[in-house]
Symmetry: C2
């Protein structure tokens, strides 16, 4: 079968290869009649141009690369559609490229950029590193979207929320409900993961509210279970309950973890929020459907996507633009949080 090339089509049509190329690529200077004839032959013969050859030869392509670290992260669900809509409206197409958990996203980007002659790149997820110099090797504009960051100067081309501030907001809210023994479930300590940043916000909120920090209230996700998963929150919370540690609220650094934590509490016969308050982070729509629905920090995903795309296109077109956009997230109070029990 197949391996029919542009030459074959040209031969069959009795024209030169360049005419066939013109027909396929909607070039202006071609006779509509011959174009039609060629396209029909192409159709009949199921000719499929070879993209490798095209990419090799083409000087440019209206393609932007979307690199996701942690595809499968529910937080990213639904962001595809926004990207697709935004980009196609501007006549761009995009390639989705998964970045493995231990892969270096810059290397992946470097390859893809050359292979596909990308016009720009959007990085989704992951976190800013100490050494941002690697990104300088990219020869096209890029934007970091929803990645963890610590200091603005580290990060050019950033669209994100302020994880510390939002985390502070949540914990401060819990304090305002009278909670003084607030458990945090966070990720194992790595540099600058969002877990760490959110943990810092937790500490700051305690400070502000004059609550002494108690290390026994800090729980880390289990490394043997999937990070940021409901399973993890569930296991951690079961252990917490078994330990006899006293607390009145749990703040999980992601909604899925909060869901797992909530389940462990309910299953142990505890009531939410009467006995314990539970709070998450991210604003997944899933929080609405847990019962009780879970108080969370709602990240404005659609706006962030739009901002990231706009920023990227501005950079591509050489337009001037703000290079850092920190979005405000919303404290979404739902059913899972309430006044602390009198102690």
């Amino acid at each position: 079968m197949s391996d029919i090339t542009i030459k074959d089509i040209a031969k069959i049509c009795g024209v030169g290869v360049s005419t066939v190329s013109r027909a396929m690529n909607n070039h202006p200077d071609i006779n509509p009649a011959t174009k039609e004839r060629i396209m029909q032959i192409i159709e009949e013969h199921n000719y499929i141009p070879n993209n490798s050859a095209r990419n090799l030869k083409r000087t440019e392509s209206n393609t932007i690369g979307l690199l996701m670290k942690g595809i499968g992260n529910p937080f990213f669900q639904g962001m595809f559609d926004f990207f697709e809509e935004m980009l196609s409206r501007k006549n761009f197409s995009f390639v989705l490229q998964r970045v493995g958990f231990d892969e270096d996203e810059v290397n992946v980007a470097l390859e893809l950029e050359k292979e596909k002659k990308l016009k720009g790149i959007i990085f989704l997820g992951g976190q800013i590193r100490e050494d941002m110099k690697a990104f300088d090797m990219l020869s096209v504009p890029y934007v970091l979207c929803t990645v963890g960051w610590k200091e603005e100067r580290q990060a050019p081309n950033l669209v994100a929320i302020d994880d510390r501030k939002e985390s502070f907001k949540m914990v401060d809210y819990l304090c305002s409900l009278g909670h003084r023994r607030i458990v945090i479930i966070t990720s194992a300590e790595e540099e600058m993961s969002v877990g760490n940043l959110r943990y810092e916000g937790y500490r700051q909120a305690l400070d502000k509210n004059g609550i002494p920090f108690d290390p026994s209230l800090v729980c880390f996700m289990k490394p043997e279970l999937e990070s940021f998963s409901a399973e993890n929150g569930y296991a951690v919370t079961q252990e917490l309950l078994a330990s006899g540690t006293e607390f009145t609220a749990i703040f999980a650094v992601s909604d899925m973890v909060a869901i797992g934590a909530g389940k462990a509490l309910l299953e142990a016969g505890k009531r939410i929020p009467q006995d314990y308050s539970v709070a998450g982070f991210d604003g997944l729509s899933l929080t609405h459907f847990f019962h009780p629905s879970i108080t969370t920090i709602h990240q404005p995903r659609e706006e962030m996507v739009k901002a990231a795309v706009k920023m990227l296109l501005d950079m591509i077109d050489g337009r001037d633009c703000r290079r850092i956009q920190i979005f405000e997230a919303q404290l979404e109070i739902q059913e899972s949080t309430g006044k602390a029990k009198a102690s």
Copy 2:
């Protein structure tokens, strides 16, 4: 910066291009010393080979394509890892290719196959079509994994469950609990979607249990909301409650829909399973974390992935193998289903 090619590297090293090529591709006949030197120069200059050129020139590539219709479907989460593990163990790499909701997966496959010189293709999701001839245009082996199918003869190279049978299993189980007015929430009628197949199983189970079919118990997902989403199940169930229709159980054709349905019931002050039983389909781990946890049909995803990969590799190697593997799913009874109320 960039656009440094293999020639440049060759020049810098004072060797021919083929030697550089040999160094990069781990060819045996090369002096280890020169290889080392070349690799170092490559490193220093951040040289990245152009994949388009490689793919164009290469005759084969141990790559298999993974085409997913409906990335973002939570059912697919975690299947990546299984694929990656299985394939890398056999020294294959894979490219993940998203297929848009209205794109034709065969066309996408055709392009990718040529571009990447694929060794094989796995299609994930979607459903079998009336006309399977399109797939004949593919020039490499392929396997359909977890797609809806109606008759075995339609579908060569299939790894899936029997949606009708499993759906029957669930509804039969509900009947055995004494339920006679069982609502089904299914997808709007399209040809051969899994929703349809699961609906057929529902009908058959009613028949077997001597329960007359009542059209007022058939609910369709709202087309204006996302298909198979919790939002959809929630909205449909609210409407159902408002309609005053009598029923004692809800069978949703997917877990997410069941979660939405459950929330609507709980929010209306109903108890699960004392007032209403709720059942889902797919076996998402999320069903464990809803409260009450949701009875579901658990699809053996890991085994199906393994079977699909094995089948594909067997075909690639020209080995003989069963071309259709229908897996048994497990009725996973959890907290959301119980005996029907006395009427």
